[in-house]
């Protein structure tokens, strides 16, 4: 579903992503790990089409994100690391805007929006302006927006930042649902425990280059030729030292 071939991104002389290649199948939850400044956010921005690569190719659902951005974006849902939303729209209006722009039929919106607001416990504040929402509430609203459009590819950049424990648990369940429905999930995260329990495969990026890739068990074995008995956190720290 997501095919990344020799992806490169430079900012002046600085190489943020260096010759990255990845394949993520439908139904797969891919955890993209790496220390701060390793190139995770840059990669996910390129996948979402909001940043152009300097080299290489990205195919999403068979569409080249540079050559056919509209077709690709129709099947992508993306949540950035900072939940910026229109402060003068209400929660309900924001979801309606997302529904309209991603061509979710009005009939479906009418049923799904109240349901999603309910799931994320936002019904009581759905008529309030978003400038009054907390960071976590905005994050939940964005996740609701992802679910509203039923994407074939979901891209998340640190999706659980600001969420309360109950919402994190709900998010994990929904993530599994999205994947079960056949979507590919690409998630940048620093929460290694979540990646270990949730992701079907992980990749570790360090200084722009992919240094490990595979299932969690496979990656664990890569470090120091280990037996795989250590936690993902220990392996991550060893690889990125």
């Amino acid at each position: 579903m997501i095919k990344i071939q020799n992806l490169t991104k430079t900012f002046g002389a600085y190489k943020a992503v260096d010759n990255l290649s990845l394949d993520i199948a439908a139904g797969e939850i891919f955890g993209f790990l790496g220390p701060n400044g390793a190139g995770k956010t840059t990669t996910v921005k390129i996948l979402s089409g909001i940043m152009k690569p300097a080299g290489g190719r990205v195919l999403v659902g068979g569409y080249d994100i540079v050559e056919s951005p509209l077709e690709a974006k129709k099947i992508i849902a993306y949540i950035p690391d900072e939940p910026f939303v229109y402060p003068k729209l209400t929660g309900f209006e924001f979801l309606r805007f997302i529904g309209d722009i991603y061509s979710v039929p009005y009939g479906e919106q009418a049923g799904r929006i109240p349901e999603l607001l309910d799931i994320f416990e936002l019904s009581a504040v759905s008529g309030e302006l978003l400038e009054a929402y907390s960071h976590g509430m905005k994050q939940k609203l964005l996740i609701a927006g992802v679910l509203l459009r039923k994407p074939r590819v979901a891209l998340f950049d640190e999706p659980t930042v600001g969420l309360d424990p109950k919402s994190i648990r709900r998010f994990k369940e929904l993530l599994l649902d999205i994947a079960r429905n056949g979507a590919a999930v690409f998630m940048c995260t620093h929460i290694l425990d979540m990646a270990e329990k949730l992701c079907t495969s992980v990749g570790i990026i360090y200084r722009g280059s992919l240094i490990a890739k595979g299932t969690v068990a496979e990656v664990k074995k890569m470090a120091s030729g280990g037996s795989g008995g250590r936690s993902l956190e220990e392996v991550f720290l060893e690889l990125t030292e």
Binding site: I50, Y86, L89, F92, E93, D100, I101, S126
Partner: protein
């Protein structure tokens, strides 16, 4: 601690200057040069005016000092209004406030830091604009360089006092009504006050100052000149200090300067004391948003989208922007200022001393350029910033399946209606007030409608060519390099529009004066072709450049 807070501002400024290299440096230097040229032009204008006034027999020196007191009074009022609007942001909504409040800093010291910041931002542009006047005054009155130092000496407490009014007002209002709604109401009240002062000032017909014959009795005129403009306001104390300096009366100069400094010290000591009691409550309340109950019914644009599916994306972006604009108090305050501008504009047209019908028609034709300038200036506030004001939220549209062209078209659609309306209203009413003939009326109305469209397209195109998604407010965009390019392009376009139509208009007047065969149809065709090419170029070039840039813009 206050030293440390000042130091952080100095360091930020120093780093910003140090980062200016290559193209940004060249751009800023070019900008600075244009600013200097404008200040020189202001100086030349002031010098001519003051020279004329000073040359009036017997009352000349009185006239120039009277004008100085009026200039200072207007500056004082404008700083007060600016400080009301700016202090709301600096004292309660600055991006660094949450951090500063969490630091172990005395609340009153933090308040003083923000108060001085308010005074600086609300006065620097006005002081810069007044400076050419002061230089011209010194030159015309042949005063020594010490006069300028004495001005700088007394202007310091003057702006501190003017700024304190706005700061005190905001602090008290926020203390009594601690809510973000208070900020919106204050902004609206601020704009209403500016509009009122502006309209009232224009309606007093200040041009009478230059026409002593307008007042019936000479003694009445001299009394008017000798009377203080506002005896209890610092603007009058500054005027008196400057008059005293120029007369070599040191005692009077220091007594007025002393009054200014003593008043400033007293007010700031009072505010320092008050801030310890009331600032925190206001800041805390500013974080509260009032309850808002949005509706869930289908919007008119959504109903239209159901009928015309091909326009769904455009209509979706349109309703989003329509709601955002309608709910933002900043736009309402801008709209109030524009309404005042239109009233003053039409009043000024009515006051023009034009005697003949032909002269009135000629002025109606030239009025296209002036009305076009007003449309362009309004576009600088609304149209040019439209793309950039997506701000941090631009990721939503960039990640969505909509093209950059659609985003620009929708922004154009939003801006077009007010631009066309304002242009058409200005020209239609001006033509009526001037009694322009039918040919000029039709020509000017059609021209302004086309010009409003072209200038709007230019604004969106250049706004997309010079976007700044990190910007915090419209003023930063207006005074940006891109804003300057937009205004220069709009001015150039309007000059060429008047140029291409001048010849046919000349033929029209020749016909009115009774010339046989006044119309050279080949000339008319040539002008029409030049006008068509000009409009096509003014639409296509900025639009294409902006679109290309927006498409490749990374976030």
């Amino acid at each position: 601690m206050l030293n440390l807070l000042f130091k952080r501002k100095m360091l930020a400024g120093k780093n910003r200057l140090a980062a200016l290299k290559g193209w940004p440096l060249a751009k800023n230097l070019a900008f600075l040069s244009v600013g200097l040229v404008m200040l020189l032009a202001l100086y030349a204008g002031f010098w001519r005016l003051l020279n004329y006034l000073e040359g009036v027999q017997v009352i000349g020196p009185m006239l120039s000092w009277k004008l100085t007191s009026m200039v200072l009074l207007i500056t004082f009022s404008m700083v007060i209004v600016s400080s009301i609007i700016i202090s709301m942001t600096t004292l309660y909504y600055s991006f660094d406030l949450k951090f500063l409040f969490s630091c172990p800093i005395d609340l009153r010291v933090l308040f003083l830091d923000k108060a001085f910041e308010t005074v600086f931002y609300s006065s620097w542009t006005l002081l810069l604009a007044v400076f050419p006047y002061i230089i011209a005054l010194g030159r015309v009155k042949q005063l020594d360089p010490g006069f300028y130092f004495s001005y700088i000496f007394v202007i310091f407490p003057f702006v501190l006092l003017a700024g304190s009014f706005g700061i005190l007002f905001s602090m008290l209002v926020m203390y009594l009504f601690p809510s973000s709604k208070t900020r919106d109401i204050t902004w609206l009240m601020g704009s209403l006050s500016v509009s009122f002062v502006y309209v009232a000032f224009r309606f007093t017909k200040p041009e009478k100052l230059l026409r002593p014959d307008a007042l019936e009795v000479v003694a009445q005129y001299i009394n008017y000149l000798q009377s203080p403009t506002a005896p209890y306001l610092p603007s009058w104390w500054v005027t008196k200090a400057m008059v005293s300096y120029s007369a070599g009366n040191w005692g009077a100069f220091f007594s007025y300067a002393g009054v200014l400094f003593a008043a400033a010290c007293a007010v700031y000591v009072l505010m320092y004391y008050l801030s310890g009691i009331i600032y925190m409550k206001g800041f805390s309340g500013a974080q509260n948003s009032p309850r808002f109950r949005g509706k869930t019914r289908l919007l008119p644009e959504q109903k239209l989208a159901l009928r015309y599916a091909g326009f769904k994306d455009l209509l979706t972006c349109y309703w989003k922007d329509r709601l955002l604009l309608a709910r933002d108090a900043r736009y309402w305050s801008q709209a109030i200022l524009i309404a005042a501008l239109i009233v003053v504009y039409l009043f000024s047209i009515r006051q023009l001393p034009l005697d003949t019908q032909d002269l009135k028609s000629l002025v109606s034709f030239l009025n296209i350029a002036v009305a076009g300038f007003v449309v362009a200036a309004i576009g600088l506030r609304f149209t040019f910033p439209a793309v950039s004001l997506e701000g941090n939220n631009y990721w939503i549209l960039k990640a969505a399946p909509v093209t950059a062209a659609l985003i620009m078209k929708e922004k154009l659609l939003i801006s077009l209606v007010p631009s066309l309306l304002i242009g058409a209203v200005l020209i239609a009413f001006s033509n009526r007030l001037l009694g322009a003939d039918l040919f000029i009326s039709v020509l000017s109305t059609c021209t302004i409608v086309i010009a409003a469209f072209v200038i709007s397209v230019m604004g969106i195109g250049l706004g997309a060519l010079f976007p700044d998604f990190k910007v915090e407010n419209i003023h930063q965009l207006e005074s940006s390099y891109g804003g300057f390019i937009y205004m220069a392009c709009a001015m150039g376009y309007l000059s060429l529009v008047v140029g291409t139509q001048a010849w046919p208009v000349q033929m029209h007047f020749a016909e009115r004066f009774g010339r046989v065969h006044p119309w050279d149809w080949r000339g008319v065709a040539l002008c029409a072709a030049a006008y068509a090419i000009l409009n096509a170029a003014a639409v296509v070039i900025p639009w294409k450049l902006g679109l290309k840039n927006l498409e490749r813009q990374d976030i």
